[in-house]
Amino acid sequence: MNALPHIALELSDGDVLAMYRTMVLARALDERANILYRQGKIAFTVTGIGHEGAQVGAVWALRAGHDVAMPYYRDTAVVLALGMTPEEIMLGEFARAADPSSGGRQMPKHWGHKALNIPSGSSPVGTQIPHAAGLGLAVKLKGEDKVVWVSFGDGAVSRGDFHEGINFAAIHKLPVIFYCQNNRYAISVPFAKQSPVPNVATRALAYGIPGVTVDGADVFAVYGAMREAVERARRGEGPTLIEALTYRMDPHTTNDDDRKYRPREEVERARREQDPVRRLREYVLSHGLASSEELEQLEERARQEALEAARKAEAAPPPEGPTALRHVYAEEGSA
């Protein structure tokens, strides 16, 4: 008899529900952010709706807070799974002084969290990839058993940074997992205009490292691939390139109108067929891990949590104007 996927991966039923809860909460936070934008309460947002499976499955294979995680702007579910609170996330949406990522200095979803080992990220796509290699080098030179996980979209693969960063990590067999969420668009540019090969994972061949493509809507497949890559990295065998196939259900950001370049049917079909939340929900129900009432409750709680977090963040104070002058250089007493 074949074990259920999560059993085969040594995930408990509780794990599965916790994964589902994280995905649902991420979805609720992103949906709330969209509402806040439409209400004119926040200036901008970007969501990871459709990517939650690829995100939660990946982080589940990491030791949160111990390993280094470098999420990109779609990674709401990643930072939740790593331990950021809904309120912390919402403080970022509202650009409040208490936003742990940047104190409101960066656009929403430009993550950073010292205590959780999430280095500060920027907007230029792909620049974090060599940082990941450098972090991997530090881990190796210091003899730590951390892994470094760096996340990016398919767009980043085109940048020189991708090539240079992976090349170095592969030469030195650094414990880095290069994690691409390939949603087949960089804003409007379809993957075929970005890449001569149909899969990002193929790029691994140039560096002599494993390249794996997984269905990003299948949280267990993602978890399995990640677990293997993490083990490999911890064994000192070097980096892995993982490509999780996803679909971006929303426009690129709140500034984008995706009707210009994506047929509605494509989006609708993806919502039906590639929604990781829906998929996991069906899995949970069909294997009796929870009842549909339990799931509805969980989902309702998530929406409430998102709403509550937004309320609190909205009420929190924005940074004061003159603080714009701070932290250009180290201040007295800091390092």
């Binding site: 656009m107 940048r159 020189g160 960089a186 924005p318 940074p319 714009a324 002058l325």
Partner: protein
């Protein structure tokens, strides 16, 4: 004549030039769907896929490919989606494009245009608000234009595409500068020479030398000060490199007092060079220290409105600086 804003003017001028000259083509991220700001809206439909090319997300090669295409006889107009992402292309722009003619002793040229929307006041945060002109301002071989009035935009975009040397074309993307402000723009083609500043308002008490969004603020501040009896001359540089030293100096010689204003941070901004030229060449005409108004020395505009408002030079700060200088 049509009442046009800047982004519409860019779009119509690009189409006009592409229509005229089959060597002109555009490349960049998302240009096929019209670009994130709409600069290339309709170009794909009008000119077909060989003339409008979506590139991978890789700025170094957007410029590098443009350079190659120019060597191959085409006239590329490359778009960098936000000026904040031009840094990866600095090597190609500064070491390659700008030095092609010089290093080949005049045998090869590099007639590319690199368009980049820049500037703050859009709650774009550190990486969607930058002014990057200072990065390129120390590079002879390059030309840098930054017109802000639609009329100038049209004339200078045409001049940039026709120019036999590499031109950086910076467009201020703030709501007022890109879309809000409209002007009569002639439908027939015309060029404005690169390297010529324009006195946008004559005045006798104090000069403000500026460009970009700050031109709008300077003009508004000048109106404000006019009511107080202070007569401000507003010089819109339009071209940053080569600098129109003559227009700058003659304005300063006339008024004796000068404020140099830019949105970029103070230190290392191009205002320093302008001040230096004035302090050397119009020194004996100065009645007051050369003043500068600029963003504070922070790495880039922060996102939160409270922070950005604090950091951005605006009409009020401009008026205050001019008032202080005029009454000195």
């Amino acid at each position: 004549m049509a009442l046009q804003n800047t982004i519409e003017t860019i779009n119509s001028t690009l189409r006009e030039i592409m229509e005229e000259d089959p060597r002109v083509f555009v490349l960049g991220e998302d240009v096929e769907m019209g670009g994130t700001f709409g600069a290339t809206e309709g170009c794909l439909e009008a000119f077909g896929p060989g003339r409008v090319i979506d590139t991978p997300l890789a700025e170094a090669s957007i410029v590098g490919i443009a350079i190659g295409a120019a060597l191959g006889g085409l006239l590329p107009v490359a778009e960098i989606q936000f000026a904040d992402f031009i840094h990866a292309a600095v090597d190609q722009i500064v070491n390659e494009a700008a030095k092609m003619r010089y290093r080949s002793n005049g045998a090869f040229s590099c007639p590319i245009v690199v368009r980049a929307p820049y500037g703050g006041g859009i709650t774009g945060g550190l990486y969607h608000s930058q002014s990057v002109e200072a990065l390129f301002f120390s590079t002879p071989g390059l030309k840098i234009v930054a017109p802000v009035m639609p009329y100038d935009v049209k004339g200078l975009l045409r001049a940039a595409v026709k120019d036999p040397d590499p031109v950086l074309f910076f467009e201020h993307k703030n709501a007022l500068a890109y879309r809000g402000f409209r002007q009569e723009v002639p439908e027939e083609p015309y060029e404005i020479p690169i390297g010529k500043a324009d006195v946008k308002r004559e005045g006798k008490d104090v000069s403000v030398i500026t460009y970009g969004l700050m031109v709008h603020y300077a003009l508004a501040a000048a109106e404000e000060l006019a009511r107080e009896g202070i007569d401000v001359e507003v010089v819109d540089l339009r071209t940053l490199l080569p600098l129109d030293e003559e227009t700058i100096l003659s304005s300063v010689r006339k008024t004796g007092k000068v404020l140099i204003a830019h949105e970029d941070n103070l230190t290392g901004g191009i205002g320093g060079e302008i001040a230096a030229r004035i302090a050397e060449k119009a020194f004996w005409h100065l009645d007051a220290p050369v003043n500068r108004l600029a963003a504070p020395d922070i790495p880039a505009m922060p996102y939160a409105k409270s922070l950005e408002d604090f950091a951005m030079p605006d009409q009020q700060k401009m008026a205050e600086a001019l008032r202080n200088l005029a009454t000195l």
